[in-house]
């Protein structure tokens, strides 16, 4: 049975569960979808015998063969473009782009083909495909292995954009993405691959795209984030809790579509919001959230919306950890918001 109920990781229901890392959940997600649906194929650079540079596809070629799990030429344009053409002809491609930073050559395929085909053909053709790609910093990767480029894709109508931060969501969102009818960019916060563990039900479930998760309920302040920053957001919430602040924590999980309703409900209740993202600030997705909050629940606000973001510099190698919005910076922004006026 497939359930669409979303539960926070680590609080699985009555059924059996297993403890997985984020990357194990992703691997399990692909394996399960390939077993369920013979149309699902996995390809990209080094995903075959090697199992991907991060080993996300480890074991898949051994189980499903070189036809369904294969290495491609080193060409993001070919990988993404082929996924478009395969999806149009009836397969369910999962394409891996080795690092989100390398999407450049495939960008036109995403924005001009994948995102537009259903629309420009009046619904005659569509691209049900998933592009998986590790993104974000914190792994000493320099700016070509550490960027958070999700805003480029959020700005493109026709694409769906998700970024899990827990194994439960990683699995549930991946299933939803593969089973959906639209192209999905599935960003994987690579520094969480093995840094987070969580319980994942053994039963089949999906996490519907466009629904945020409340990680912690509170009444004084809404801390809202997604992806790689979530462990630090939770740390900050804990620190604030120790100071007597009741913090509500939301994990967006999905950026397009995003859960405007859940955000507004939370901010209307708490009156204060701090948004956290490691992407550069200008034009980041969180600026859309901030704008929407002032549009929808301005009267509820007790303080300006706080925004903790990456800096508008290329991602620096040496200052890796300083660049990222850690718990300290999040707490500072929260305190400023709490002390406003």
């Amino acid at each position: 049975m497939t359930t669409t109920e979303s539960r926070p990781a680590g609080t699985s229901g009555a059924g059996e569960s297993t403890t997985l890392t984020l990357i194990q959940a992703i691997t399990l997600g692909m394996q399960g979808e390939m077993r369920r649906d013979p149309r699902v194929v996995v390809f990209g650079e080094d995903v075959g015998a090697r199992g991907g540079v991060f080993l996300a596809t480890a074991g898949l070629q051994q189980e499903f063969g070189e036809e369904r799990v294969f290495d491609t030429p080193l060409s993001e344009a070919a990988i993404v473009g082929a996924a478009v053409g395969m999806a149009v002809r009836g397969l369910r491609p999962i394409a891996e782009i080795q690092f989100a930073d390398y999407m450049g050559p495939g960008f036109d395929q995403l924005v001009s083909q994948a995102a537009k085909l259903r629309y420009r053909s009046g619904g005659q053709f569509s691209c049900p495909m998933v592009v998986r790609t590790p993104s974000g910093g914190g792994v000493k990767g320099g700016h070509h292995h550490s960027q958070s480029p999700e805003a480029y894709y959020c700005h493109t109508p026709g694409l769906k954009v998700v970024m899990p931060s827990t194994p439960y969501d990683a699995l549930g969102l991946l299933r939803a993405a593969v089973r959906g009818a639209d192209p999905v960019i599935y960003f994987e916060p690579k520094r969480l691959y093995r840094a987070v563990k969580g319980e994942v039900p053994t039963e089949d479930y999906i996490v519907e795209l466009g629904r945020a998760a409340v990680r912690q309920s509170g009444t004084d302040l809404s801390l809202i984030g997604y992806g790689g920053v979530m462990p630090d957001v939770l740390k900050a919430a804990q620190a604030l809790g120790e100071q007597g602040v009741s913090v509500e924590v939301l994990d967006l999980r999905s950026l397009v579509p995003w859960d405007r309703e859940a955000v507004m409900a939370s901010v209307a209740r708490t009156g204060r919001a701090v948004l956290v993202s490691e992407a550069p600030r200008i034009g980041s997705f969180m600026t859309e959230v901030a704008s929407s909050i002032q549009e929808d629940v301005f009267d509820s606000l007790l303080a300006p919306v706080g925004l903790v973001a990456g800096f508008d510099t290329p991602y620096p190698y040496a200052q890796d950890r300083v660049y990222l919005p850690g718990a300290g910076r999040i707490v500072n922004a929260a305190v400023q918001t709490l002390n406003y006026g």
């Binding site: 082929a82 478009v84 259903r118 629309y119």
Partner: protein, 368 residues
């Protein structure tokens, strides 16, 4: 500048004579059908240029001069079975595969009866009925998807073939190389056809590539390359047919370069082509190699000549059909504003529903 033709495959001499040693494809009935479709493409072109000048549409990319290439490609395919990832100028392929004139005209006008629902600028036709994927405007970005579709056909165990077309300019794009490279590696059933009309808007072939023709690039991707006289419909049909048949049998991809010429402008944007970047001599050189004239000479030599009366009757009939199609498209009106929000995704997400509601209120206020 007049580019020399190296040694392309040619079935018909410029006087319509049959080259020694060739076996002509098709029967006289097929030849008549080819001629009729080429005439349709030519007259459609004429009508659409007029439509443009009258301000009844906003963009059209002329195909006059390229009829033999496009009709030859289309003739080699099984409509509704094989797939085409073409480019915007490919009305000749679509018409050969059975595209409805009404649909082409409706797409040209972005009208309510447009199967693409008025979503793309004019001349970007697409139809799921004939597996003709709706054209993008970005150059060469249909090439990797064509490889993907062919790969899917191979993986699904079908005997379908994909044809991917593009102009000479497209061969300079990264996507073109990425797509052909992967097609070669994966040995997919795809035939890539360069409709080399010598010009990418105002940039000549000599500024596009330093190689000896586009066909020279085939070797780099491990596939056969064939250069064909693109103004010789029988040679194009035969060459593409052979490549299609090989692909269908699992023999992998082929690159075909059809040497032809765009007699008119790229589009209305460069209607002054002859004043700005092309010489009168060059245009005259190619006009003397008009593919329709050549084919009519061939038919005459074969004893199936088309009389002046037959020709003008056919032209008049085609004009009526085209006019009716355009009229029907115009009569269908404009697509409703509400449809703007549909087909972005399979289901309308909440943010689009919200924007739709906002516009609905504005529209209603404006109408009251």
């Amino acid at each position: 500048m007049i580019h020399p033709l190296p040694t392309p495959v040619q079935y018909l001499g410029e006087d319509g004579s049959v080259r020694p040693g060739v076996t002509l494809p098709g029967t006289p009935d097929d030849w008549y059908a080819l001629w009729h479709t080429m005439l349709l493409v030519r007259e459609y072109d004429r009508k659409l240029v007029t439509l443009l000048r009258q301000g009844r549409t906003t963009f059209y990319a002329q195909a006059a001069g390229m009829e033999a290439t496009q009709v030859g490609i289309g003739r080699a395919l099984r409509p509704g079975h094989d797939w085409v990832w073409g480019y915007y100028r490919d009305q000749g392929i679509a018409l050969t595969m059975g595209a409805r004139l009404q649909d082409l005209a409706a797409q040209m006008l972005g009208s309510n009866s447009d199967p693409n629902r008025g979503r793309q600028m004019p001349h970007h036709y697409g139809s799921a009925q004939i597996n003709f994927v709706s054209a993008s405007s970005s150059i060469a970005n249909q090439v990797p998807p064509a490889t993907g579709t062919a790969l899917a056909q191979k993986m699904l165990g079908t005997d379908e073939v994909t044809v991917c077309t593009f102009g000479d300019g497209a061969t300079s794009e990264g996507d073109w190389h990425a797509g052909l490279n992967m097609a070669g590696v994966q040995q997919v059933p795809c035939v890539f056809v360069c409709e080399n009309n010598q010009w990418a808007i105002s940039t000549p072939l000599s500024r596009q590539t330093a190689s000896d023709g586009i066909v020279a690039k085939a070797a780099g991707y491990g596939m056969p390359g064939v250069q064909v006289d693109g103004n010789d419909v029988l040679a194009v049909w035969a060459v593409v047919q052979e490549a299609v048949d090989r692909a269908r049998r699992g023999g992998g991809p082929t690159l075909v370069e059809a040497l032809t010429y765009r007699m008119g402008a790229h589009s209305n944007a460069d209607a002054d082509a002859e004043k700005t970047y092309r010489s009168r001599e060059e245009v005259q050189h190619w006009q003397a190699r008009d593919p329709l004239v050549r084919f009519e000479r061939f038919l005459e030599r074969q004893g199936h000549s088309i009389s002046a009366a037959q020709r003008s009757e056919a032209v008049a009939s085609l004009h009526r059909q085209i006019d009716e199609a355009i009229q029907e498209a115009e009569n269908s009106g404009q697509p409703d504003w509400r449809s703007m929000f549909e087909d972005v995704y399979a289901d309308m997400p909440v943010h689009l529903r919200r924007q739709y509601q906002q516009l609905r209120l504005e529209q209603e206020a404006g109408q009251s």
